[in-house]
Amino acid sequence: MEIPENVKKRLSIPGEEHFYAGHTACQGCGASLGLRYVLKAYGRKTIFAIPACCSTIIAGPWPYSALDANLFHTAFETTGAVIGGIEAALKARGFKVKGEDGIMVVGWAGDGGTADIGLQALSGFLERGHDAVYIMYDNEAYMNTGIQRSGSTPYGAWTTNTPGGKRHFLEKRHKKKVIDIVIAHEVPYAATASIAYPEDFIRKLKKAQKIPGPSFIQLFAPCPTGWRSPTDKSIELARLAVQTAYFPLFEYENGKYKINMPSTKKEPKPIEEFLKYQGRFKYMTKEDIEVLQQWVLHEWEKLKKLAEVFG
């Protein structure tokens, strides 16, 4: 569909579509929306590496692809290494990589493939300084294999291997803070983003494109199937995650922290706001909710201090 010029001017999100209808994502899938935004931001002169994750399936089986860009499907733990290899080959062959007119090399991996099995390759990628972008889409569990806990699963969540029930067997550990691990590598650019705030996400993608060296974006992407939430609530849940400070939006750029709007507008909403609609939290006791609330506020205070001192 042709977008009228006057509408185009108002849009901060590129109108071009490079993610085709006919992909195989579930209804309300946050990850597929995120992938669509990435393709809008970077266009087809992009090489994706996607490991084992929902997006392997979403992109479609051979010989199909829902992505209007080149895509290399790779092994679960290798995203960081593969995008490093692609970038090295492009450089050896004399191509311009990153920057406004360069080829974009993008790793697109889930939280399991990033926080857990792929953490070592991610670390190697960051530490060696490749000119590529690594995007972790965070739906807080292994959704493709059927909702098992990952390092990114939050405290109190039901998953198929932290099943709740009579004996309290819910996830007992807080969400692994992958972005903090990334920042510890002193990367030039790292940010969190949410599918509920596409302008912010696309701005960050564009920034990651311009800044030389490795960039990392942790994208919050609800999964109705795994979260046991209504398919029309994904955006709302993603927004509530920001508003409750459960998943604040911020950037880390050359040593400086910056909390992004709308995270700082008001005091965080109570965590219950985020927990609602989600069957995965239904086993939590009042005490559990309080534990999670305290953790969220503690982390939020920590982030605010970082932004204050290193802003």
């Binding site: 087809r44 002169k45 090489i47 590496a49 392997t56 399936i57 992109a59 479609g60 089986p61 051979w62 010989p63 199909y64 692809s65 992505l67 209007d68 860009a69 080149n70 895509l71 290399f72 499907h73 790779t74 092994a75 733990e77 290798t78 960081g80 290494a81 593969v82 995008i83 490093g84 290899g85 692609i86 090295a88 080959a89 492009l90 450089k91 050896a92 062959r93 004399g94 191509f95 080829i103 070592q120 390759a121 670390s123 190697g124 530490e127 060696r128």
Partner: protein, 396 residues
């Protein structure tokens, strides 16, 4: 075509590999250190530091698994890529070896044969590379440093022709750290022999986007496997042609996948792979002088497996002593299994016995070959085996 005047250098097997990488104009090297492989990647780094190579991206990864993953990414993006490893490192790469062949990427690597732990060992043993038998990689076993150098150059040409990865295998320390004269080929002649890679597909082609390695449903997966086998069969022809061309250009003929040494009128032959075959050839000369009618059959390429050449050999001998510096637990030496299996449905049925030798770097000498020859002669005279698998060095 320029006239071939070899450049003679005294180098270790590892340096021979590094020089071959330089001469092949490799574009990406991703590597992780492991003894006794490390001096290969050190030498390549030195070439870069000295400005002896251009357009070579060196990716010092954080593990062998990532080394192979980075090679795969780089190869998919159209570059000529190389890595090297050994033993535990190769085992860690195992998953990605399947990825390289499945995605039809002509990655070339040198594996320095080293025994698997525990107990820790850094010495020669072929079990590490042979355990990768079913990954879809071609495997070339070098007898000496010259064959390491030649093997790497040929491996690139063969791999890039059939779109399968290839492994050049050399012995820990016996070759990797032992210096010998290697005849190297002037750069312009290597360039003629090995032109720049023309990738089967290239991720830098944005005209018509495509994806590699997507989900293969039961309706398609089967045919992907069949095509790999077809490529392996084609590789036999390509190996023959490239090996012949190498011989014509540079005087060392590699057209045969099994190198035969004094087998014409042999009663029985010693069959094996890698550096131990140097010892065997030397022993054959000694034994011939002593009246034994023996020869050596050095299996150069283990994958694809030279069934046809083995059959031609087996028709004309009474016995084959298969020397395995490796072991498949619960069965026998791996080359032994393969060789017996290849002959089962033929009418060539020489007596075959398996000698397990040199595991974990145990010394293997000319006098060992003589003892094996005595044993083989007795078996052939009697017409029956004493034991099928002989743990030759066992302290009894």
């Amino acid at each position: 075509m320029a006239e071939y005047k070899p450049i003679r250098k005294v180098v270790s097997g590892n340096y021979a590999a590094a020089y071959a990488v330089k001469h092949a104009r490799v574009e990406v090297v991703a590597a992780y250190p492991i003894t006794p492989q490390t001096s290969i990647i050190e030498k390549i780094a030195e070439f870069i530091a000295n400005g002896e190579v251009e357009n070579l991206e060196y990716v010092p990864v954080e593990s062998e698994h990532s080394a192979m993953a980075a090679c795969i990414g780089a190869s998919a993006a159209g570059a000529r890529v190389f890595t090297a490893t050994s033993a535990q490192g190769l085992a860690l790469m195992h998953e990605m070896l399947h990825w390289a062949s499945g995605a039809r990427l002509p990655v070339v690597m040198v594996d320095v044969n080293r025994a698997m732990a525990p107990p820790w060992s850094v010495w020669d043993d072929q079990t590490d590379s042979l355990a990768q038998r079913d990954t879809g990689w071609m495997q070339f076993y070098a007898e000496n440093n010259q064959e390491v150098y030649d093997g790497v150059l040929m491996a690139f040409k063969i791999a890039e022709t059939v779109n399968l990865p290839a492994m050049v295998v050399e012995s820990a320390f016996i070759l990797s750290h032992t210096y010998d004269v290697v005849e190297m080929i002037p750069q312009e002649l290597v360039d003629e022999f090995l032109p720049p890679r023309k990738p089967l597909y290239d991720l830098t082609n944005f005209e018509k986007p495509f994806s590699i390695g997507a989900l293969g449903t039961p309706a398609d997966y089967y045919e992907f496997r069949y095509k790999i086998q077809r490529a392996m069969e084609k590789a036999k022809e390509v190996i023959h042609e490239v090996g012949k061309e190498f011989g014509e250009r540079f005087g060392r003929d590699y057209s045969q996948m099994i190198e035969l040494y004094r087998t014409e009128d042999a009663d029985f032959v010693f069959m094996g792979m890698g550096s131990l075959m140097g010892t065997v050839k030397q022993a054959v000369d000694v034994l011939r002088d002593e009246g034994y009618k023996v020869g050596a059959a050095k299996v150069r390429w283990f994958r694809p497996f030279p069934k046809e050449e083995l059959y031609e050999l087996a028709k004309n001998v009474e016995g084959i002593a298969v020397l395995d510096r490796n072991y498949s637990f619960g069965m026998e030496g791996i080359l032994f299994t393969e060789a017996k299996g290849a002959l089962y449905n033929t009418n060539a049925k020489p007596i075959m016995k398996n000698y397990i030798v040199g595991l974990g770097g145990r010394d293997f000498t000319v006098s060992d070959v003589r003892k094996i020859a005595e044993n083989m002669r007795a078996i052939i005279e009697k017409g029956e085996l004493d034991v099928e698998v002989d743990w030759y060095h066992l302290k009894r």
